[in-house]
Symmetry: C2
Subunit: 288 residues, 2 copies
């Protein structure tokens, strides 16, 4: 039985009067940001700062990615109430070892989340991604360009107001789900929640993120069974190490027809651009 | 008596072989990233993911910004050993209410850190910044340009390998300290540690950050008494609200001779550019 979810939406942007370099006041739009305190069976778990686009899916994905709940069916309901900035999670039978599971905290590069990181690391061996010769778990250069083009055309809060991170789920170059949040881990958690609710497998999917390819991003993708991640930004050392260990394929600095494949070359069907067709970028220097 | 600190440095970058859009393998440099587990009097506190440029100052600033330690003199020593990825903090007389202080966690937009956020909010009223008519707590447009120029000339890991956040401390347009880390909150914490060690006041200082102006960034700046923050990126709603409440002056989207002043106009001496001298940017859309 699927959990019952509210659909608590709130305005995603806010108007602001600012002063620019010409000494002129003007109106701009900035993303909204809200504190959402999550209670599980009446016990306070965490406060998430969020844009508020899909708070119930965010909470669902957070519970999954923190591995506090094993099956989506263990959750009876998630009720978000913006009047009190709270999400009330009701489980069907409680959470075993709640204190133990929430005790350890790690501040990771890509927005802490008090991740139960130590445990994650020790369970990495149990993660299984589809083999690299499985056609649906590979990506060609042409499909990669198609994916990047779909992202370019996507309407977004980012385009209207900046300062948010986006995350999308693809099947090859077909866009399945797109979400934005003020924190990029919220965005990937929201997609995790959506997949979980649908009972959707990750083996033939691809993640797109505007954020850096950090260890947490790689772990979350692997936990959801998604073997390929495409990022507009760069990579960190731990992200790279983990992805290699787990057999993920990572693309970064990916916009238009530019990209770097950092690892997992065996999942990539290159269709190289002619070398003289495009100016080489001087280095790998843009910010993640 | 000042704490004794090791000077544990480690390589800040790593070489990587990647595949580009031309189907060619090439060498790039990426930032290093290490897990540093902090023990306080032999009790595990937190694991920070860091570039490792100044781990002792990072730990010092973390303890300060989490308000776990009241005075720098309460700390006897910080010993970082990269062989075991650990920082051992020895206090002179232990930390009172350690469990209570570390119990509450909040995942904020700008990299969680399990911040004792609830408490912070309730103590905001006690933060005092210098008045806006104090000349050293103001900034002119010309000095702002000088500051941005100093940042442009600064050598950095970012320039060589991307994917890190930078943070700097200025007195007007004089650069006092610059630090980079894989997480931007590490960078500001490291500067906090450095200021604390020097016994340096913040009232006549200015923060520069490459990251977004989030609530945490504003709170940390205010805690250190720094009334002005300049960012290359944008702003979040909570960052804006808090800065207004606290009387901070925030500049964002700041590069070359472009910027937006989001709030605290009263600390800013505008020397407007002629309106026809420069093309207006179409909107406030770049990513933080």
């Amino acid at each position: 039985m699927r959990p019952r979810l509210t659909e608590a939406r709130a305005p995603l942007t806010q108007e602001l009067t600012v002063l620019d370099e010409f000494g002129q006041q003007r109106q701009i739009t900035i993303p909204a940001e809200r504190a959402l305190t999550v209670f599980v069976d009446n016990r306070e778990l965490v406060t998430l700062m969020t844009l508020g686009a899909a708070p119930e899916l965010l909470v669902l994905g957070y519970l999954r990615n923190q591995r506090l709940v094993e099956s989506v069916d263990d959750i009876d309901s998630i009720t978000v109430d913006w009047d009190v900035d709270a999400a009330a999670v009701k489980t069907r039978a409680g959470i075993e070892r709640f204190d133990e599971k929430t005790a350890k905290r790690v501040v990771t590069t890509g927005c802490g989340q008090g991740t139960v990181f130590g445990d994650m690391m020790s369970e990495l061996d149990s993660l299984r991604l589809p083999p690299a010769d499985e056609p649906s778990a590979r990506l060609s250069q042409q499909r990669l360009y198609g994916l990047l083009n779909a992202m370019r055309l996507q309407e977004s809060t980012y385009k209207s107001s900046g300062s948010v991170h986006g995350c999308a789920l693809f099947r090859q170059d077909e866009l399945l789900m797109f979400v934005e949040d003020v924190g990029r881990h919220n965005a990937i958690d929201t997609i995790a929640g959506w997949m979980w609710l649908q009972g959707m497998e990750g083996g033939d999917k691809i993640f797109y993120t505007t954020g850096r390819l950090t260890s947490e991003m790689v772990i979350k993708s692997a936990q959801m069974g998604v073997p390929i991640i495409v990022s507009r930004s760069g990579i960190t050392q731990m992200g790279h190490e983990l992805a290699r260990k787990l057999g993920l394929c990572l693309f970064g600095r990916a916009t238009n027809r530019h990209f770097i494949c950092y690892c997992g070359f065996e999942r990539f069907d290159a269709q190289p651009e002619p070398v003289d067709a495009m100016p080489r970028k001087p280095s790998d220097q843009r910010m993640g």
